[in-house]
Symmetry: C2
Subunit: 412 residues, 2 copies
């Protein structure tokens, strides 16, 4: 069971979590992963910001950042263990270094190397609820690390794999994974099951439920992950029809062609005009961007009417847009383009489904539905199980609803 | 160098501490011990209180209390290390378990067993400022512990012993140890040096500067401890005439007969009347009190005029008074006293000095000075290097000033 910061924001909510854990522990062995109390991580991060970066000669202070920030989850783990004992449930807290959750030394965004879980497993087998501080680990040299974005979910999945758990339940503020965002399409339905591959695409393409990192890890280790609401009643979380199970494709009986529609407004489109139409242009353009860690997503190249000249459009994350433009302009002479424009007023809308592999006509349905509503498609990119289109951001909701209906996702 | 919670209460004060450390580190290798930011420990303790005691079958939750509370010092250590690096000073934080500071498993009031300081010493020798989280340790089983009252001072002294430091500087809100409390006697003078034995008596008898525990440890390991103000200017702390050095008696050239006058209003006097005057009464009286962990301090027995009957007076800490009375009353038949009274309106005033060992007349001076001011002495107790008297609390300041003058402590 994994609970995020909002679920453990104060003592009252920690008691609520304890009741959920108690109901679960009455029927099977349980390990719980907790985040820091909501707001605490921000407070700690603000302090590290105020302490300032290390002098240049000393490199980064990311190891000390981790030492400070990891204290947040430590507090929650101790408090939840105490609360469980107060209810008569044997429990103890486990900090990352106590298990240990061994990571590399990439402080602030460490990756888990190995979890020698013998002691932890023995404690759980002995009937004790293990309350684990999420988001943190330790290097082989004994320095604290934090896992970065999606860290607590990743801790939960990695531990579920390490202790060979039957399922990893991620308690969150939504009651499962939906066919699309219910705030935009009220007819969105909760999916009972979704495959790892689809979940991974959904997470990459805008669904905020699970971080891609934890889904990747679940897929790699075959850990069934269930997304469910932390507002269920104690005991209810064990029901068969609660939440969404993220699992192997083979376990999903009822196959759908398309499982969900996602969107993201975090995109910016950069267009280059009048490029020389000869080999090597792409590498001269995208090489420097890759070196600067700017992630380029969709790319389309088109031949301009003027002979020997092409146009190129590509998207980057909105927060990288200014930097990307700077880099591209700096290399203007080398790349040889005539003009450049940036459009931040775009959205990426995607349809995702493993059924695409075996069904033709998915793209046709998509383009038809958008055309019918007058939505112009600027860029298209596809993978085996998804199609994404870049459109004018003003059409986002319209496009999402049109696609949701076109694939019959609103039919119960 | 050790800094308490007030000295590291916010980022600005942590920067001030960093400047003090930087000035020191420019001239010699430095290790720094820090407490939690003022207020943080209280917040953490309040949360553990709200989490509640463990169900009876599960014993205490003191191990989880320690896990939660130890996070406070962890945050300060990380922030100070970052701040030092920001100033270009190589530094790293060391948590209790990272050194490790090995303690017993008496959670909440653990005692240090051993500090294998090889790694810490190597880091310090390598030119790095070691920033150590005070107040915490770890059991051999890898569970976090806290040291209880006076814990951070004790960490500092124990580490000074482990790394064979030349001196352990305790930065505090006063600039040293005074001949008496300057708030009561403006002519009180700062002592340049004081022996461990005198400091120990002073700490036991009301001086709040250092906790007895850290002084005991300093005495046991021969660690010179200096008490000085955290409001000194950077660099000034290295001056020869700053603060008070607590050291071996032999190192104090200028011997004094009396070094200081202390007082404590935390006493209560319990009087028993009409006790049978035969052997065994004392053990029947004090046995049950000892069993209940009530610390009995001063004791005086006097024969009443009625043949075969005696009176007994003794003092206990004010917070133990009600419990002590309850225990004594419950044993009234067995002890056989006729009547009992409690007086909480008393104060213990003490004069302390190693010179008493070789000088007669110290008590005579004390009693004379008090008599001259009309202060009635209720109970007297003595040790080799101190004399304490119990008086009416209303006379406290008068008595302190009279004794301060009588031993010439106000003479520069």
């Amino acid at each position: 069971m994994k609970f995020g910061g909002t679920s453990v924001a104060d003592l009252e909510r920690i008691r609520r979590v304890a009741r959920l854990v108690a109901a679960e522990a009455a029927t099977r062995p349980v390990a719980v992963v907790v985040s820091a109390m909501a707001g605490k991580t921000n407070e700690l991060v603000a302090w590290t910001d105020a302490a300032g970066p290390a002098a240049e000669s000393l490199g980064l202070s990311d190891d000390e950042y981790d030492t400070v920030v990891a204290s947040g989850e430590q507090v929650t783990a101790g408090l939840l263990a105490m609360t469980l004992r107060n209810m008569g449930i044997p429990a103890r807290s486990w900090l990352g270094w106590q298990i240990p959750i061994l990571t590399d030394a990439a402080h602030g965004r460490a990756r888990i190397d190995e979890i020698p879980a013998e002691a932890l497993t023995a404690a759980i087998d002995g009937g004790e609820v293990a309350v684990i501080a999420g988001f943190q680990g330790v290097t082989r040299e004994g320095r604290l690390t934090t896992l970065g974005r999606g860290g607590s979910d990743t801790t939960a999945v990695a531990l579920a794999a390490a202790v060979k758990a039957a399922v990893c339940d991620i308690y969150t503020d939504v009651d499962g994974v939906y066919t699309t965002d219910p705030r935009i399409e009220s007819r969105a339905r909760r999916l009972k099951k979704i495959s790892y591959e689809e979940m991974l695409e959904m997470a990459s393409l805008g669904a905020k439920v699970l971080h891609t990192r934890s889904v990747e890890m679940a897929m790699a280790h075959g850990v069934p992950v269930r997304v469910l609401s932390s507002f269920v009643e104690p005991g209810e979380g064990q029901g068969p029809d609660v939440g969404t199970l993220v699992c192997e494709e083979e376990e999903i009986m009822e196959k759908r062609i398309v499982s969900g529609v996602t969107f993201s407004r975090d995109e910016a489109k950069i267009s280059l005009f009048g490029l020389p139409d000869h080999p090597g242009v792409s590498s001269r353009l995208f090489g420097p961007l890759a070196e600067a860690n700017v992630n380029v997503d969709m790319i389309v190249q088109s031949h301009a009417r003027a002979e020997g000249a092409a146009n190129m459009e590509f998207t980057v994350g909105k927060r990288d847009a200014a930097r990307a433009v700077e880099i591209v302009r700096a290399a203007q002479a080398e790349i040889g383009f005539a003009d450049l424009s940036v459009d931040e007023d775009v959205a990426k809308v995607s349809v995702i489904g493993v059924g695409m592999r075996s069904h033709a006509g998915v793209a046709k349905t998509m383009f038809g539905a958008l055309a019918e509503k007058g939505v112009n498609i600027q860029v298209i990119s596809t993978s085996e199980i998804k199609i994404s289109v870049l459109i004018d951001a003003a059409y986002t909701e319209l496009a999402v609803r049109a696609l949701h209906a076109a694939y019959g996702l609103d039919q119960v």
